[in-house]
Subunit: 251 residues, 2 copies
């Protein structure tokens, strides 16, 4: 009997061209579909909660597929972990209502962007941070980050090459915290435009370096002009951290 | 003018055959000496604070060498970081008194051993943990760990193949803590025998699995018999975490 099964996974995105299936490029979706095929014999249609860019990581990413094989979820999860490479791990597997869809039912997401604020390399986190060797005032940046909170047209924080028309999104929280040399920008919201978090972080770094004046985020948002916001911070530091399906979890 | 320079480094040991120089095998010491040669032109004698096994990591490792080249420490550090591979990072570089020796002047060390207590892989820490998929009662293990504290003959916790005669060491603290699925064993002491921390951890895991009875560590220590203690836990989870030169820091 066909069941709708939801998988919760982690992946280190360094060696993948993002989540989404592509011809001639390895992606996390392709790896997951290949693994499901190996364990169930089925060529499934696998729905992900989000696209992700090349090199972006996920501490939590959800996807779902209809599977016919009569296999216990725990066994299916073990099987997938056994056949998947080292950089993708499945840590949740459960039967969900037939109508559940990982993307359409998602009510919010949290991203973190990790900055290693040191001129010295850290070999343990090298692919999962942006190394930033200059002075970084996390308290000032935290005040700037607060300007992103709310419901806004985020056209100024969206890379071109997207076909999304409505660029209004609600950011629930946006903050900057330091733990030693590791500075983390955390952003949660109901949805995100193409490269939105990376442009938010790039804008914060451009404020830090003086290229963009402090307290100008509201103006930049209002301008809806991508030329006014900062650089797109590189993919390595970005992690999809949480995916919400229950509105109660979001706030 | 020759100066005695102390380096503080981090390294991910996965791809190295430990610290110590070896013929026909790549080691961290070899990499550091090659880097120093590139920056200073000098073939230095580099003293490390400790040997380490293949695959063992260090969050803090100290080494020192006499260097003639007139170069600012900050510049020397930057140069080394630029020529070293991604898995070794220098984060401290300073001139120390002429008599300072990284190994002989070391008054204590702290090791951590990280256990990923889950049947699901974590791609972000895969080379730096032991994955342990079974039940792990960190409170019980923490009570067992306390038995290692004190000054004892640790012959039962030393692999053969060592030429050290005096096997008495003082353990200052030994504890087990959980943070979600990550369980960390922390051990500090005035010195450690060959594989000592890995055998301590292996013994704790053998107590967990019931192969070794609870509360038998004092007897095993007293027996001085390596056959009574547990397995040698694999290298991946072991990290040299702190190296002490000031007796005040140790306790």
């Amino acid at each position: 009997m066909e069941r709708n099964i939801k998988f919760t996974i982690r992946f280190k995105g360094t060696d993948y061209h993002g989540w989404q299936l592509q011809e001639n490029a390895d992606t996390v979706q392709a790896q997951m579909m290949r693994a499901i095929k190996k364990i169930t014999g089925e060529n499934v249609k696998l729905h992900g909660c989000s696209r992700t860019d090349s090199g972006v990581h996920a501490n939590m990413f959800c996807c779902n597929a209809r599977i016919n094989k009569d296999i216990d979820c725990q066994k299916l999860m073990r099987g997938l972990n056994a056949v998947l490479g080292d950089d993708i791990g499945v840590y949740g597997c459960s039967v969900v209502p037939d109508g559940f869809h990982s993307r359409f039912d998602c009510v919010g997401k949290e991203y973190i962007y990790r900055i290693w604020n040191s001129e010295c390399k850290n070999p343990f986190i090298k692919d999962t941070v942006l190394q930033y060797p200059y002075k970084l005032d996390e308290k000032m940046l935290d005040r700037q980050a607060a300007y992103f909170v709310g419901t806004h047209d985020f056209s100024a924080f969206c890379s071109s090459g997207t076909d999304v028309e409505n660029k209004v999104r609600t950011i629930y929280s946006c903050n900057v915290k330091r733990d030693g040399e590791l500075v983390t920008v955390t952003v949660s919201g109901d949805g995100f435009l193409y490269n939105m978090v990376r442009i938010i972080v790039g804008t914060l770094l451009d404020i830090q370096s003086g290229k963009i004046p402090e307290d100008s985020v509201p103006e930049i948002i209002a301008s809806r002009d991508r030329n006014r916001s900062g650089v797109t911070a590189k993919a390595d530091g970005l992690h999809l951290n949480k995916v919400y399906y229950d509105p109660k979890e979001v706030l």
